[in-house]
Symmetry: none
Subunit: 89 residues, 4 copies
């Protein structure tokens, strides 16, 4: 089999996988829309709701960053004890 036909097969496979995944992604996006719709039907203001979700996502990102920083500190301490920073003397 030629290189190009191999490549063509690979290409086809890649495209199909991507398209499959994008469909799944869209399905979930639609689900999210539905939930917002349900919220609205229950009298919630979807605009505010979206803000809440956004803020919580930010908070979470911050928290993770802080944990990462903590890990860095702990790692720098050499796996041994302590929480007070070593000033290098």
């Amino acid at each position: 089999m030629t290189d190009t036909s191999v490549a063509a097969g690979q290409l086809r496979s890649l495209i199909e996988r991507i398209e499959r995944l994008e469909e799944e992604k869209k399905a979930i996006a639609d689900d999210i829309k539905d939930v917002y719709g349900e919220a609205k039907a229950n009298g919630f203001d979807t605009k505010v709701l979206r803000q809440v979700v956004r803020i919580r996502k930010q908070d979470q990102a911050e928290r993770q960053e802080q944990e990462a920083l903590l890990d860095l500190y702990l790692g720098a301490l050499g796996g041994a004890a302590a929480s007070a920073p070593d000033d290098g003397v």
Copy 2:
């Protein structure tokens, strides 16, 4: 139980559902990225790849739009006379 606490419970539930779904969505988006990465590792030009995917999506969208247009035509013909207006003489 008060109305507000009921609402609070509903709100909490809605937020959780949305956040769960957004996580899933993100996971799939990451999968898609992985596939593009794999494609690139196999020597494919991801820019071309993305363009191909985009065009195929457009084709599909267009087909759907045309069907919608047909429905509109048929509806207009069935409805009364419409769409092809008479010139009032």
Copy 3:
């Protein structure tokens, strides 16, 4: 003259240009609305009309995308070998 007052002058000028252009844009949008209104007054179904315009726009967009894809292909072929990768054996 200070830097900040120069910047202030520039800023004012930029804002004015943008606002002027946005006014023009709005005027044209209103014109478009008028045309749809006129169409409706002549018995045309504006929904159908809008769909037709949308489809024609899509057609055009698609044509442009395909040209872009062709450019990409040609570029990839010219660049080295790329796009159709060898399978490394």
Copy 4:
């Protein structure tokens, strides 16, 4: 000439006018983009710039509303004089 061919001619004309106007609109939108680009090249933060434009638009809308309100009041006073409300005695 038949009604339908008359309608077809009208339709064609309407579509063309709409498409022409949409092109013009797009051209202006592109101009606006250019101005933002120029602003950025001069060191302005386009995000802030957009906010400024938005706020000024809101202000303007408010001012117009207040003028409309004023007109309403004046009209209610019977076209005659005065700015102090009549308490009906």
